[in-house]
Symmetry: C2
Subunit: 406 residues, 2 copies
């Protein structure tokens, strides 16, 4: 029998274009169950819950909840807080005071870890609490789930941006010859790989794609850029912010010390700038870099409709699971076998997803180490929710009549 | 009487979201006049014309020309080429060989200068040539015209991106507290100013806006950031890539020498990175920067419909002028007086626009030097083609019943 009491939901980690869609799914589904009395939102994830900073989500105007499905970023506020054992005990105490029996946490693997620890603390305190996590990360590095809500949208954003940047470079390559687009993703190259979806013809950008799953070598990179330049006269490269060389040293860090040790940990970024300098110095080609940064992850205008819908459904699924006693799980997306893209919702143990990191597998990375495979394209294409809008290209029609006067 | 012969059109300078819309306007209008026999496109502006690298634009499928109106970047290819007297003589010679009597050049002030020089060379050679330039620059720094095609679209892109980045920072400000968005514009702050259009409520991003029209002072900047942080707990700043200090030194250049003298001129960019370091060092706040770079200028998905339409119309107007003998002009956009946004097409002498640079005037810059005025908002709002899509915000509704068990 389902637990009777209130539910709380929180958002954690980096904001995305669709994390509010998951929030809407949790809220709307939870309001369907009589055993769930009220639905509370914790401000800034567990940080707000620790301070009893709750808002009533059940009494929002329904149009506000509906509007969440097209509003980017984290409407409840987010956090990156590693819970201590003391935090967990305190959370259970707060939950008991507010008769909170359902805990839904939307986030990545750190959030799954938090959910897991809170669940354990509740058990230790003899407090019945249904815990289900909802997946969210643009990085797409969560284990077991076919993909993570947030990924399809950042993939669509970047595919669009890199296609546009490619046309830009093709047009002005006589001046600005090499373009390097620096993409988010830390240790996982999923987002960078998705820039391959920009291509709509054989010579289209990106011409080179470097993932952190392969050690980065400057010599090889320069030879790759040179080869594309010799063939096309312009080059668009996409690189993951987390590129590392053979020794495991971040490519950015080797050139800049300013970002390290600010707060005891290294801030990524800067690899695009560094590679531009390398290209200019070694190949004598003018290079520019674009670093769209956080803008890439929270664009509602270019969000993937598939991603938005799945994010909503996986939120709803988490609530269904919790009310059916399927707890200590993260709700996930399972891709059905077959040529047509179809998914169903499933679950995975929190333990499994909590501290794992799913990197881009070898079969998705080209042998050359500077591109992705067709298998990756087949995997990622459905996630961006349909093809990009068609652009036109002028035909190189020669002049009709020879007007030339000798 | 209108000249009889062929027309040539070229694109020059940085690509934009709407320069192809102007190209479509030139082509479609030119095909209406019997005195214009054929319409040629020069590849990469005057560079291609010098090498007789022409394509026939009149024989493209009409759907291709129509498609240009929603295709970003420069479909003919662009260039940044400062024509020599020898180049100009050579161009007139080529035009004569191909019976080209109409020269339409789409670009900024450098392109107006090129047009002017080519026109003079034709006159000196006794060759009748109708020259009309078509305005294009995201920088919005062309003289006399109310605004430049390309500006409304980059403004819409940035307003959207900064609004999204603002929601992102508001959500995760407990971790990543200060966001600095580095915006294009060289010496003119028009694009940076347009980020103010992101605001949809009083405390919305951007909280601080720094234009190159005002000397940048680090002390003042840090005090500004601190004040916003103390009030809101997070800060979004937009800065122009071309910020300079009181001595006229680029703020970026003072911290990095790597980008200077690569090819004899200084590449801008890096100010966002520098200011992040400054904030971290002096205020002990974590700061990140986004540098969307060229991506901001060529987005078809977020192009302003007003901008697309005006770019098309100003292209058509240039052809109309040329056939009516109104030559050695740049076609421009004239805003009609009155509360409703209405424009008509006009012209300005090439001489006037060729080497002028229109900076953001004092009445558009807040007295504090870190914001724009309402007069600027009134000027820029119509250009982005309608309000940004509405987002939803959760209401801070307190919990309905006190379930708390003491």
């Amino acid at each position: 029998m389902a637990l009777k009491g209130n539910a709380v939901v929180g958002q954690s980690g980096g904001p995305t274009a669709v994390i509010n869609s998951s929030l809407a799914g949790v809220i709307e589904e939870a309001l369907e169950y009589p055993e769930i009395h009220s639905v509370y939102g914790g401000a800034h994830g567990v940080l707000g819950m620790l301070e009893e900073d709750f808002i009533d989500l059940g009494r929002q105007d329904p149009s506000v909840i509906r509007g969440l499905r097209s509003t980017p970023s984290a409407a409840l506020g987010s956090c990156r807080h590693k819970v201590s054992p003391e935090d967990c005990r305190r959370l259970v105490e707060v939950f008991r005071r507010y008769n909170i029996r359902y805990f839904f946490y939307i986030g990545g693997n750190d959030s799954a870890d938090t959910s897991n620890k809170v669940s354990r603390a509740a058990r230790e305190a003899g407090y019945d609490l249904a815990v289900v996590a909802v997946p969210k990360t643009i990085d797409n590095d969560l284990a077991v789930t076919d993909h993570s809500p947030g990924y399809g949208s950042v993939a669509r954003w970047l595919a669009t941006a890199v296609r546009d940047a490619g046309l830009d470079t093709e047009a002005i390559g006589v001046v600005d010859t090499v373009k390097i687009v620096e993409v988010m993703g830390r240790n996982a190259g999923w987002i960078t790989a998705a820039t391959a979806l920009a291509r709509d013809h054989e010579d289209a950008a990106p011409h080179l794609i470097y993932l952190p799953e392969r050690p980065f070598g400057a010599e090889r990179f320069l030879a790759d850029v040179k080869a594309v330049y010799d063939r096309l006269g312009h080059v668009v490269v996409t690189v993951c912010e987390g590129l590392r060389d053979e020794t495991g040293t971040y490519v950015t860090a080797s050139s800049r010390t300013i970002d390290t040790d600010r707060f005891g940990h290294r801030q990524l970024g800067g690899v695009g700038d560094f590679l531009c300098s390398l290209v200019a110095a070694e190949l004598k080609l003018k290079a520019r870099h674009d670093k769209p940064g956080t803008i890439q992850r929270v664009s509602a205008a270019l969000a993937s409709p598939v991603d938005l819908e799945e994010a909503y459904e996986v939120g709803r699924h988490a609530v269904r699971c919790a009310t059916e006693g399927i707890v200590d799980k993260m709700a996930i997306i399972v891709r059905r076998p077959g040529p047509r893209y179809e998914v169903e919702m499933g679950t995975v143990e929190l333990d499994v997803v909590a501290n794992a990191e799913k990197l881009v597998p070898a079969e998705f990375i080209g042998e050359s180490g500077n591109d992705v495979t067709q298998a990756f394209i087949d995997y990622a294409s459905p996630l961006i929710g349909g093809p990009l809008p068609a652009y036109t290209r002028l035909e190189r029609i020669p002049l009709e009549r020879v007007h030339v006067r000798a």
